[in-house]
Symmetry: D2
Subunit: 399 residues, 4 copies
């Protein structure tokens, strides 16, 4: 049962989540070395998670002789440099979301790892939440028919660290921070081979005194006809709202990953301690989650990554996926500026997906628009005359 | 305690809902005469609701000597003729939604009633749901600060009557049927004096073999900067989904009017009978509502209408509101065609609304982007240097 | 459309709820006179609800020449005197819950109205919530098979008025205040002709420095074998929790009447005003209800009462029902003292109800304990050998 | 990162759950050998979970030279024999719930492992659900004040295997199957050092043609005054209902572990496959859970067990806990028979717990029963005169 020995780059909130996940339960993989730009934060992180070593030397961290996997939990503008170092070291690299600040940057990172021939995983945790994994499997098994519309929503009152707010370092605002999650969730439901064609996006800065968007909504048109809709905000009040809704021709899926998961607590405020990520209050009605790293997908994400390394296969989320996400975000920003639909520009590796289509049912040479079962068991048909275009009702016996 | 004597025009589902509401509980208003294009449906309706008379003569119904109020529950393409007759008769007129098929048609109806000087109410029930009324009052009282975004969603598997599916008779598809509700709900939350400037809309026909849209999503830009977002569908599976979500600078409101209201039933299917509007199944887990006409706003809507008549004041929802809704829907259809934002063209009677704005807080000459309370009681500030545009964190003592 | 003219006795919270209901929407019944022990509270109530007159003279209020119905919203210890006066006046009397402090007192009031031959209604609002009415109708229609267990729960942080806390004036603690609701809800679901045989009850005073119980749980054994379970508390934190759960042989019903009804609001606390009965906070996550008097059953309750008067029939909830409730509460107190089951002592007017029973299905001369459908469509039977008493599994083809 | 090598005894549903958990994610512990009474079931299980060996020889399985931990997933009547074998082998033993069929049997097993000096863990998964672990931690941190009442509910339509239905093999019915979970959940919330004194229980066989109870409800009186209430049923319709509710003097916790966890799916039935444990339907509205073995506590349970072995400490759930649970169940059965409270007879190793008590607050020499904040900021006090016992209201300024 040999595990992996890991170099962790970065000691922010995401580094904590990653290491907490890796070191939790009966995991066999361990962080061996941690890199931080600050010696103090590095030492504190090392002690907090019982890691043997910390350093402020990025190259030394990447090239640590005992580690075979490097996890990148650094701010967006530092991904490219780190990935180049890891590729040069010939180690497996797992990079946090978003992959790049732009599709162009992401494409370069993709080329780097492909040239080097190293394993590269895209750490998109929210595609791995237990609910999402089961829901995607149900969709694949046909439980809701053809997917027509996927809504993914991620909102909270704004990030905890300063660099998130600086578009020069991140590539944008709430879309780059949160929309990247939503886009990849949507792709998992409509199918990764389903080409994203165009994007229609609106962005606005409604509350915070910043240059980048603190609210955005966008539509993605896929080749099958399915629509992906994402909603992101840094101005939501009440905690962190993570919901996905999938509509199909024969069913519906609703998932709430965080703020309403069957755990409710009222307190007059006597206790203390951490409630949940982005929680706004510590008294009144609170809505914790059970096991945060499990509910947010970190556990299943790392299992997939390390198993993929062990099995010599690609993980569910690859650098190519990260590149597609960046390409869609680029189109979103262009659309918001153009105030109109904009094409998604990307080097497409997926195949072609046919249009959602059904041969309309006929009844006595009329097109059946809808069937309803009446309380007495008979059926009501709504019919369209293909010649005149007129609509009519008809009640018929069952069968 | 004198009530009103009513002529009801139309005997479809909406006529049943209206009359059920008027004749329920201890109401003092009664339907005296009902008009139907079909004598059989008219007679059945008359008997079902214990109404003294039915007729197939529209003018006779409107001019019945004992009624003082006429309620229009007819298909869209018959509204204008009916309103003209009622205006000529000098009676109060209450017209179902949408007012017209286009803003131009709605404007003519508005002129008709204004010239005749008759009371005219727009029967927009979903603006009167008990939850909406209380939520709007909370918003007015400042409970969530400035409204930034309102999402209103109405979806179900498609209408019950044939004429709904014929865009020639209705003016469109799911937008005209359902979007009109959402638009007016949104206006109640952002404020009716808040001018709708532009609309961005996407429509698609994903499932039904019809010419008009069975799915649509749109954004409405209001003068204050607030965004209204509506989502409508005739392809939703699982019942009828009516949800409104309001985001403000200091709070959030979530309302579920139909499918998740605290009433859940599992049945192996032994019972029988009506479950709820647009319910799809009669076995398994079902989600009825308690008092449907109350939860859907009909009770409060008619109370407001008849009180407004008695008190000589305008009701909450007027023909002018109906006209604004049509103008926004027209812009939505133009936008969907143009694939870009389109202006709302209307004769604006509201005033001007200032932009949502707050003077940014300063801390030692830096702009405060966000304040977070840490577990130990201290505060973490995210600051922006107004000169360099750089962001930084600062932890300070509380106070 | 003639309504009724009412004398209202009492100006506490319940008087407000009653009058608010009667004067709301398009109701045709009006309070004509209000009685209060305090002239100030009487005058304030009169002005609040636009009532023509108030008085401190109980007999004058009851005998007001223009009223034909008297509503009693007085503390428990004043019910008997008021009912005697109304009966002597020959008017219809509607009395709030609980009818008496003991079954003996309730029996005397029942005799008083029966001797006088006046209409007497028991104002048990929670049996009339829209959800309950629809759920009871579903149960009657067979939707969940035979009722096996009914749980009714009513808890909050304690009453608002001093007299509620004084067992000498009320007859007890949380059972008398809240359990009376639960018992009658349970009776509506198991059937009012289903005789309550025995009660097992536990009471405790866990938080408040009072002599009576602030927490209780009880089981009621009905003749059919069905169990009623009620849970009441004056120490619940977080608002008012009103839930009913009904288990049947073929289904389940869950109802939440107050704290989770599809209306959720987060506020940082900027707004103001009344949130909901027994709400504990005005910031953070709040859970208002839409139309409180409708959701709590007051609207349907008064509709039934006044219609029953108009139609010369008994209402759904009668003084006899109030007497049965008191008899069950008496048994509960005796059981809590005896720490064992105690019989319900009452003059039973209902009939006899057969035991819930089903003839066990047989499969090859074995008793079928359970059938499960396997994923492959086959069925798994759990069988019991009637001779040996041994259990075994068997997988068979469907059909 | 060395893990443990395990002998698994039993190949039923629980063996699947256990092995699924152990072999999932990045776990470092592996099942090395599986024992089944049936060679076919053993081989199938072995192949399903990629286990090296299976056997029908219990002693050989226990004494496998490479395993150091034995997990018992056998029917209740086989626990004692298996535990004796493992103790003799000197290996760590982890036994499924309930430990014994009676307290006497459980006490013997406890003695066996204590005499042998082997590690012994009680596999009570539902005490380890992520929500429960976080909730217990919140309670310990004081978030809800003193615990006053804990309700734990576990119900479903009945077990999948024949032996569960045979009280001779299990020790009883739904209490032995499900109540054992609830009792230990309750103990975790009230504190394990809080002695259970007495039990009041009602059992009934309402639906299934069996000799043991298919429904039961019970109260457990703890030394602190706290009440534990458990509700179990084998006749619930709609899936598996797992809910825990904790009431405290300053707060409330509600947990739903299974049927309402923020994952909702509607399907017309086209798909296929496993939905969730005890699910009753595969069409209509379904409520899956995300990661079943995580949500049901198996992951955290095994982590605690193996860490405890590695660290040489006791696990959270020990054989002594299993013995206490049996003692409480024995008292429940005695109480149901006696129809009255019965003492819990057990060898108590915990200490003594003081009665929940608070010194009543005084205001001008009167006892404060309740404080309410009024909308205008003033406070309303309900006071009790300690001499007369009379209650009164008083409104005072805040502060």
């Amino acid at each position: 049962m040999d595990g992996h020995s890991i170099t962790m780059l970065g000691t922010g909130l995401i580094g904590d989540f990653y290491t907490n996940t890796l070191h939790s339960q009966r995991g066999r993989d361990r962080v061996r070395m941690v890199y931080s730009r600050s010696p103090e934060r590095g030492a504190a992180f090392r002690d907090r998670w019982a890691i043997p070593e910390s350093t402020t030397d990025l190259a030394a961290a990447v090239n640590h002789p005992e580690t075979d996997v490097v996890v990148i939990g650094l701010p967006n503008f530092l991904h490219e440099e780190a990935i180049s170092l890891v590729a040069a070291a010939g180690k497996a690299v797992l990079c946090t979301k978003p992959l790049g600040r732009t599709a162009e940057e992401a494409r370069r990172m993709l080329e780097t790892v492909e040239k080097a021939g190293v394993f590269a995983g895209y750490l998109e945790d929210l595609c791995y939440t237990p609910k999402s994994l089961k829901a995607v499997a149900s969709v694949r098994a046909g439980a809701i028919g053809d997917v027509t519309w996927v809504r993914s929503r991620e909102t909270h009152p704004g990030p905890h660290s300063a660099w998130f707010w600086d578009g020069r370092l991140t590539g944008g605002g709430a879309i780059v921070d949160l929309g990247c999650h939503c886009i990849e969730i949507i792709r998992n439901f409509v199918g990764k081979g389903n080409r994203p064609l165009e994007v229609l996006c609106h962005t606005d800065t409604l509350v915070h005194p910043i240059a980048d968007e603190d609210n955005a909504v966008a539509l993605i048109q896929f080749e099958s006809g399915a629509i992906g809709q994402f909603e992101v905000s840094w101005t939501f009040r009440g905690g962190m709202d993570l919901r996905d809704e999938v509509a199909g021709t024969h069913g519906t899926i609703w998932m709430n990953h965080f703020l309403r998961t069957g755990f409710e607590m009222f307190t007059t405020g006597g206790g203390s301690g951490y409630i949940a990520e982005k929680a706004e209050t510590s008294a009144g009605w609170l809505f914790p989650v059970g096991d945060e790293v499990s509910e947010l997908g970190y556990v299943d994400m790392f299992s997939d990554m390390f198993r993929a390394i062990d099995e010599g296969r690609a993980p569910q989320e690859t650098f190519y996926d990260g590149y597609v996400v960046n390409a869609i975000m680029d189109a979103a920003y262009r659309s918001a500026k153009a105030r109109a639909w904009e094409p998604v520009e990307l080097e497409w590796r997926g195949g072609s997906t046919p249009r959602i289509a059904s041969t309309p049912e006929l009844y006595e040479r009329q097109v059946v628009i809808k069937r309803e079962v009446l309380p007495d068991g008979r059926q009501k048909l709504i019919l369209k005359d293909p010649t005149s275009g007129d609509f009519s009702d008809r009640v018929i016996e069952a069968g």
